[in-house]
């Protein structure tokens, strides 16, 4: 029951991020989604009573709930980023597209990869939805910072699949992936600074020096 509600929360947050019109709402959505993910892995760790899973849970909290959102907020403040997200698709269409993507994910998990177990099935469906919604955010949001958040939503989806479907990846791989996410965000943040300095904006659709 609790697990089901948490899974639902992850999906709702993905939709909330599609509906978000402002950068701060987007960052908040990501923080909340990561927090739901943290609760889920905490329950899994508690059930299996495994130290390794507890460590993964702690790292998840530190990296995705605290460090990454704080860092992104700081970057946004430092470059005085416009709150407007530069939607290339209006919110209604975005929302319909997100619903359609979730439905496709539902069909995919039901028909193509049929996995035994109700929890595993819905977890895979929600993780695939989150991954596709993340991709959608990256394609349709034209601010560099919003693209970073799209990527992070994708990674949240993947993490959900790893944690719930396959019972967690081998420990060292999980740790390496967290480290990697942190590094990606920091490096992308550096590039946001560079773009902002050179172009005096962070609108990705206006990066058009290279053609052909």
């Amino acid at each position: 029951m609790a697990v089901g509600l948490i899974l639902f929360g992850i999906l709702v947050m993905a939709f909330a991020m599609v509906a978000a019109k402002r950068l701060s709402a987007l960052i908040f959505g990501f923080r909340a989604q990561s927090f739901f993910l943290f609760m889920l892995t905490f329950i899994l760790a508690w059930r299996e009573n495994s130290t390794q899973l507890y460590i993964v849970t702690t790292m998840l909290f530190a990296v995705k709930v605290v460090l990454v959102p704080n860092f992104l907020q700081k970057v946004a403040r430092r470059i005085k980023a416009d709150e407007d997200l530069g939607l290339s698709v209006n919110p209604t269409v975005s929302m319909s597209a997100a619903v359609l993507l979730s439905y496709m994910a539902y069909l995919f998990t039901g028909k193509i990869v049929s996995i035994p177990g109700e929890f595993e099935n819905s977890a895979l469906f929600i993780s695939l939805s989150a991954t596709m919604i993340g991709t959608f955010l990256m394609i349709t949001r034209m601010k560099a910072l919003a693209q970073i958040l799209g990527l992070l939503v994708m990674e949240n989806g993947i993490f959900l699949a790893a944690a719930s479907v396959s019972g967690g990846m081998p420990f060292i791989v999980e740790i390496a992936i967290f480290f990697d996410i942190l590094l990606v965000v920091i490096i992308l943040g550096i590039f946001v600074f560079k773009i902002n300095r050179l172009f005096t904006h962070i609108d990705v659709d206006k990066l058009t020096e290279l053609k052909g």
Binding site: V113, M138, L151, A161, P170, I172, I187, F191, I195
Partner: protein, 486 residues
């Protein structure tokens, strides 16, 4: 034990690079370090060929003959790029395009980049392979955006974003792989050696879906059409030695990751599923890039599209299956890396001298810079597979096995597109090489380190097809046996 040394040398060099000292003398030291690495790679191959057993350490590091082949290719090209960097960076420092500090940063990043590339083939864990490939993107993005110009930052941003999305999809595929391995095969690690041992028990339909994610995900990094959109930007904006590394060895490294997954599937359900996907993406990359090579007006983008084309040829060779075809594909990885580095080095010299990327502006290279001009035109012939250059032999290996394997349609398309690329490449490159040089431009020679780098590459592409050392042939055959799952 050689693989530890191979990893430690670039790590140490990247640390030494930031110490105070003259960049030029560090460049020489750097090249020497990478020369030792190349020698170690040869030694490793010889060792593994003698024992015929994979070297595994700590359940984490692992090198079989397929890894050895990739390590060898990567470290040879690393060495040549390090050699070429000496002259290239010194001249940038001299005309103050680059500060001394920046040059030090270049060498540090160069070594980190080579370290991440070398760590891909030496780990046995598919999750760590994923991490290593992601690291190559992160480090090389700084090298793509190195000059901090508008175009280079734009290219770096696209590169890092598109490749990160791709690699995230690949992670999803890896998780599906792990799911069926742990549920159906009873394997609790991500080691492909364990997965291959349990391959018979895995769930074929999940494996097939997983492999689609893997091909699309790592294919983004390998430059398969239609996920190649970052590639021409990144390759044209990077520094010339880095362009050579990106194109010659980084793309095949991503193909290596796909191969490791394909091997497990081949054991489980036979080679036709992976083979068809390799052929599909290969032909698509080849066809689209052939058209783009034809209309390209920017010399470095031309070479970048030619990389997409060559990845297509390699992928088709892997798709044909059979020891001979796969050996041909691996041989082509090596030949393409050598010929493409030669051309990127020569094009890099031209871009610097003419201060333009446009083929229209770069004219009369043969009189303005006789050495680099000659290399550029010879490289064009070598790259497009003219005899007696080595790429001819690898391409003919692939084509022969295509026709004898019954892939008549695919092989005919392959031949047709290769002919198109040949005409387009020679047409475009000869316009730059021949003709009148701009008035008032003084002829310029090549620095010694550049001459050496060109000379070694020339030696490789002229002889590799005809008098390749015996161990190299054995290495190719053994590696292709591993891919087939034999």
């Amino acid at each position: 034990m050689q693989i530890f040394a191979i990893l430690l040398i670039p790590l140490a060099l990247s640390g030494i690079a930031v110490l105070p000292g003259k960049t030029r003398s560090f460049g020489v030291f750097n090249a020497a370090g990478h020369f030792i690495n190349a020698v170690l790679a040869v030694w490793l191959s010889l060792d593994l060929l003698r024992t015929r057993e994979a070297a595994a350490y700590l359940g984490f590091f692992y090198a079989d003959l397929l890894s050895a082949f990739f390590i060898l290719t990567i470290s040879v090209i690393n060495f040549i790029a390090a050699l070429y960097s000496i002259g290239y960076i010194s001249s940038d420092v001299r005309d103050s395009t680059m500060s001394e500090r920046k040059a030090k940063a270049y060498y540090a990043l160069f070594n980190l980049f080579t370290l991440t590339m070398l760590s891909v083939p030496v780990v046995s864990n598919l999750g760590m392979v994923w991490v290593a490939i992601e690291m190559t993107t992160l480090v090389s993005a700084f090298l793509v955006g190195f000059y901090n110009r508008k175009e280079s930052i734009e290219a770096a941003w696209k590169y890092i974003i598109i490749c990160s999305v791709g690699i995230t999809l690949a992670l999803f595929g890896t998780i599906l792989f792990y799911y069926t391995a742990s549920r159906d095969g009873g394997v609790s690690s991500l080691n492909w050696t364990d997965m291959a041992a349990a391959a018979g028990d895995l769930n074929p339909s999940i494996l097939k879906v997983a492999f689609l994610f893997i091909v699309v995900g790592y294919g983004t990094k390998a430059g398969f059409v239609p996920m190649h959109t970052w590639l021409p930007d990144a390759h044209s904006q990077a520094l010339a030695p880095i362009s050579a590394l990106l194109s010659g060895v980084l793309l095949p490294t991503a193909v290596y990751a796909i191969i490791r997954f394909a091997t497990v599937i081949n054991i489980c359900i036979g080679t036709s599923y992976t083979g068809n996907l390799f052929m599909f993406f290969g032909l698509m990359s080849l066809g689209i890039s052939a058209g783009l090579v034809l209309v390209q007006r920017d010399i470095k983008r031309l070479l970048a599209y030619s990389s997409v084309e060559n990845i297509g040829i390699i992928s088709i060779g892997l798709g044909f299956g059979g020891t001979f075809a796969i050996a041909g594909a691996l041989f082509h990885v090596f030949n393409h890396a050598a010929a493409k580095s030669l051309m990127f080095f020569a094009a890099g010299r031209a871009v610097k001298k003419y201060n333009s990327h446009s083929i229209r502006d770069i004219r009369g290279m043969i009189s303005a810079m006789p050495f680099a001009g000659t290399m550029l035109i010879v490289g064009a012939f070598a790259l497009t597979g003219m005899p007696p250059f080595s790429a001819f032999f690898s391409e003919i290996m692939i084509i022969i096995s295509g026709f004898t394997g019954g892939f008549l349609f695919q092989s005919s398309l392959l031949l047709f597109f290769m002919a198109v690329v040949f005409c387009a490449m020679i047409h475009n490159i000869s316009r730059s090489v021949f003709g009148e040089k701009p008035s008032g431009m003084a002829a310029e020679g090549e620095p010694l380190s550049g001459k050496l780098a060109f000379g070694i590459l020339m030696l490789i592409i002229c002889t590799a097809g005809i008098v390749a050392p015996g161990f190299f042939k054995e290495l190719l055959t053994a590696a292709s046996e591993i891919i087939r799952g034999a």
